[in-house]
């Protein structure tokens, strides 16, 4: 379960990215965070990945207070979270296989097991035949799918994605979202930051709406029109 309790984030210079944000996302729930550019969507995800720290308030993930996660606890926490980025963040000098394998290598999984799980993840995103290729030889959509495979290969309990369909055509965006929905169906908590309202409406999941860092609406799936 993810819990934000009166969370604020101020940057140097006085910019307030998030302001007294409170909401809860249950384990196994899929939710979208939406809002205009600068609404605080990315900041919210960065706080969950301990890339940023809140200025005020409390954030817990599965009961763990993120404020107390320090030093070696940070990589351990990140190993439990799958992160997908709009710009994919792939290592361009390593093959698709090596990119997806990375979280498993970091987690100390044995080579044989790594191979099995990487291929399973690549098969899941439809890129098994691309495993020996470099990311640069793939299309943007394929690169995004490699990023998703890398995010799920470590079997995370939480999957967060920052504008994962931002660079994709509508058809591919729907497919990618369908993939996220599948992970939710098997118990993974999924939180996606997106400003693609038509796509969000189509997915019919809970939607948290931010505006200038404030929570302005929290719509249940059935409320999304």
């Amino acid at each position: 379960m993810i819990q934000f309790d009166q969370v604020s984030k101020h940057y140097e210079g006085g910019h307030e990215a998030l302001s007294q944000l409170s909401f809860t996302i249950d384990t196994g729930e899929m939710a979208f965070v939406t809002g205009h550019s600068g609404a605080g969507k990315s900041t919210l995800l960065k706080l969950l990945g301990v890339i940023e720290r809140p200025s005020h308030g409390l954030i817990t993930v599965d009961g763990q207070n993120l404020a107390k996660v320090r030093g070696r606890g940070i990589p351990k926490l990140r190993q439990r979270i799958g992160m997908v980025f709009q710009d994919h963040r792939l290592l361009m000098d390593r093959t698709v296989f090596a990119n997806v394998e990375l979280p498993l290598t970091i987690a100390g999984i044995a080579r044989q097991e790594r191979g099995r799980r990487v291929r399973a993840a690549l098969e899941k995103v439809g890129l098994l035949s691309y495993e020996r290729q470099l990311p640069a030889t793939l299309s943007t959509g394929e690169q995004q799918r490699v990023g998703i495979a890398r995010a799920i290969v470590g079997r995370p309990s939480l999957l967060i994605a920052d504008e994962p369909t931002g660079n994709l055509d509508p058809q591919l965006a729907v497919e990618i979202m369908g993939l996220f929905a599948e992970f939710q169906q098997v118990g993974t908590t999924v939180l996606i930051a997106s400003h693609d309202l038509p796509l969000i409406k189509r997915m019919r999941k809970r939607v948290v709406v931010l505006d200038h860092g404030r929570l302005v609406a929290d719509l249940a799936a059935e409320e999304v029109l």
């Binding site: 990140r78 992160m83 970091i106 999984i109 890398r150 993939l179």
Partner: protein, 326 residues
């Protein structure tokens, strides 16, 4: 994307406990060390000119103190060889008999700081004087031999100037001794000079080791800066600082190791270049002078120490750089 919820279930179910067993983790840790060592080596090979220049600068920096060490060792040896011809002459009282001279010679010969004692009788002294031009006539006029018994005391090889000074002082205190003649000033000067040389070599080695450390550090810093995106990704997917640092530490080790090997080879080349002139110098000293080369342990230790230095430089810089990245 041919997936079903079942396949997703299978792949996202919690990892079995055995998977995280210690043995597997150690195996994976070793595997990553192997990968880091190989990857860092191939990165060095991928930019040969830059790597060679770094290694050359470090190698030359490390070779310099080795060359000085070699030079100093040989000057020391030269000093010892010259010292063999510089015995301390002990003139006994005129009334001392042969038995007393031989007894004193034995006492001195038993000392640990004395190598040899040669006894020269008054008659031998007189004969030597007679051979000197212009003395024969004057000696004929003497009705008795005025020369005393003389002990030619050779200090043990390698004895430093203060120790020789103590030996001379002890001999001066002996009752049967009239005079001790020691031309030890040159020895003191040489010892002082070698002492300065020792310090210079130590200071030089320290400074150049620091320079090598900075060279590695800067190279690794540039390497890390050029791979900041990769480091960012690694950290985001859960890599620890140690995991991210590892390839850069190996890069430091490779730079150090190769530069250490280069330094040892350069030192050997200098040794080889000096061997000819030293052989000629040795002939001038009746073959008593032998060139002291660099010991094998030192030649082996230099690459290892340089590798440790490279590791240290990489460790310091990567820790600092990664702190900024995290």
């Amino acid at each position: 994307m041919n997936t079903t919820p079942e396949t997703v279930q299978r792949e996202t179910e919690p990892a079995p406990r055995s998977e995280h067993s210690r043995t597997r983790r150690v195996g994976s840790w070793r595997e990553h060390h192997g990968w880091s060592a190989a990857a860092s080596l191939s990165r060095l090979a991928a930019r040969p000119l830059g790597s060679l220049l770094t290694i050359a600068v470090m190698g030359l920096a490390l070779a310099l103190p080795l060359a000085f060490y070699l030079l100093l060792g040989n000057v020391q040896q030269l000093g010892q060889v010259l010292g063999r011809d510089q015995a301390v002459n002990v003139f006994l009282q005129a009334d001392q008999a042969e038995s007393q001279a031989r007894l004193l010679a034995k006492q001195l010969g038993d000392r640990s700081d004395v190598a040899t004692v040669t006894v020269k009788s008054p008659q031998q002294g007189l004969d030597e004087l007679a051979k000197l031009q212009g003395f024969s006539g004057a000696l004929d006029a003497l009705d008795q031999n005025p020369l005393p018994w003389v002990l030619m005391v050779q200090p043990r090889a390698g004895l430093d100037a203060p120790a020789v000074e103590r030996l001379v002082s002890d001999m001066r205190e002996m009752r049967s001794v009239a005079q001790v003649q020691d031309s030890g000033t040159w020895r003191q000067r040489l010892d002082a000079l070698l002492g300065v040389g020792d310090r210079v070599v130590a200071a030089l080695a320290l400074m150049l080791a620091l320079a090598a450390l900075l060279v590695v550090g800067n190279t690794v810093r540039v390497d890390i800066a050029s791979r900041s995106e990769e480091i960012g990704v690694l950290l985001l997917v859960g890599a620890s600082g140690a995991f991210v640092r590892r390839p850069y530490l190996y890069a430091g080790i490779w730079y150090g190791l190769f530069s250490g090997i280069l330094a040892a080879l350069l030192a050997l080349a200098i040794e080889f270049a000096l061997s000819g002139p030293v052989a000629r110098l040795s002939q001038a000293y009746d073959g008593k002078l032998h060139m002291g080369g660099l010991p094998v342990w030192l030649l082996l230790a230099v690459p290892l120490a340089a590798a440790a230095l490279g590791w240290l430089g990489a460790r310091l810089v990567s820790a600092w750089q990664l702190r900024k990245a995290v």
